[in-house]
């Protein structure tokens, strides 16, 4: 069977790279919104390519199942893709079965190393622009357009809100 070996990346390499992208976006854009969009676009492109190449590594059993609808795709995102990128799975998935999903990550890698007492300002929110973009791009690769936003509940936990009803 054609299976490609899944190479694991060093999580710290990803963390440092994303941190530098966020830092570097300050030179490219002046407003927080523009910076957020810039980093999100980077994540989007990454998610698109990542899901495309990872779908070559799906195990035989999953391949024959395909994706029986939106929830399957979201579950694949939470379990397999989060594992590939951040080396952990999403801790909790909630949905109202009408197109709104909330992904709880209790220990997000981008937030783990921040001091717990810092104020949650724009710089911290910018760090989550990349995972939001990856989710958006990945879902787009599998045919789902959704709007994705992140909320920091309490460092290092965060929530990703997916809304499939409006793109």
């Amino acid at each position: 069977m054609a299976t490609t070996a899944l190479k694991t990346t060093s999580l710290s390499a990803v963390e440092f790279l994303v941190a530098e992208i966020c830092r570097g976006s300050k030179d490219i854009a002046t407003t927080h919104d523009a910076r957020y969009k810039h980093v999100e676009a980077i994540g989007y492109r990454t998610g698109l390519a990542l899901f495309e190449s990872h779908s070559a590594c799906i195990s035989e059993a999953k391949k024959n199942m395909r994706f029986q609808g939106e929830l399957d795709v979201i579950k694949y995102l939470c379990k397999d893709m989060w594992q590939v990128i951040f080396q952990k799975q999403i801790d909790n998935l909630r949905t109202n079965h009408k197109g709104v999903y909330v992904l709880h990550d209790n220990q997000h890698p981008m937030l783990t190393h921040l001091p717990r007492t810092i104020p949650i300002d724009e710089n911290v929110q910018l760090l989550l622009a990349y995972p939001c973009g990856v989710i958006k791009g990945g879902l787009a690769a599998l045919g789902i357009t959704a709007s994705v936003s992140a909320e920091i509940t309490a460092l290092p936990a965060c929530k990703f809100n997916l809304d499939v009803r409006r793109a």
Binding site: A49, F51, E52, A56, L142, G143
Partner: protein, 176 residues
């Protein structure tokens, strides 16, 4: 005997096509769009009348050729037309996806996804340190006309990686 190879993305854009029929005349330019329409309709219809849950359109046969289609979860369709003696080539189409498309296109940092890849007829030597963009890409304002030309040559070189690997793989198949 392999007659043709087509690659479509989720939106129906023909990303790549290759005509392997020896001594063939030029096909009409919109055959690829018509083929996508046919595959889309066939797939939808096959899913509708499928008696059980395992629904996947794989191939169709006519009196002269057999058309095989492999679709990835991301909506990419790998289509191959062969003669009638060929059996199920799902495995080979999957190999093209996992070991040729993914390494040469998806993982190529200079390549653009979802942009048609025109196969080059002449092999360009790959640049030792790739510094320009692949496929069709907008040139920055500071680039002069000669640099733009160079970029286009290098873009073709990046695309020919997929073309070369695909040609090598297809010629290794026993039904080539």
């Amino acid at each position: 005997m392999i007659y043709n190879f087509y690659l479509y993305n989720r939106q129906g854009v023909c990303l790549y096509q290759k005509d392997l029929k020896r001594g063939s005349k030029q096909q009409r330019s919109d055959t690829d769009k018509l083929l996508y329409g046919l595959l889309y309709s066939l797939k939808k219809f096959a899913e509708k009348i499928s008696p059980n849950d395992k629904k996947r359109f794989r191939s169709y046969k006519t009196a002269t050729y057999k058309l095989h289609c492999f679709e990835t979860p991301t909506g990419l369709k790998f289509v191959m037309c062969t003669d009638l003696s060929v059996g199920n080539i799902d495995r080979d189409l999957e190999h093209i996806f996992a070991h040729i498309y993914v390494p040469h296109v998806v993982r190529n940092p200079l390549a653009e996804l979802h942009v048609p890849m025109t196969p080059t007829t002449t092999m360009q030597p790959l640049p030792s340190s790739s510094s320009s963009s692949g496929k069709e890409e907008e040139a920055s304002d500071a680039v002069t006309a000669t640099q733009l030309q160079e970029q286009q040559v290098q873009a073709a070189a990046a695309a020919s990686g997929f073309d070369a690997a695909l040609s090598a793989f297809l010629s290794s198949l026993k039904y080539y």
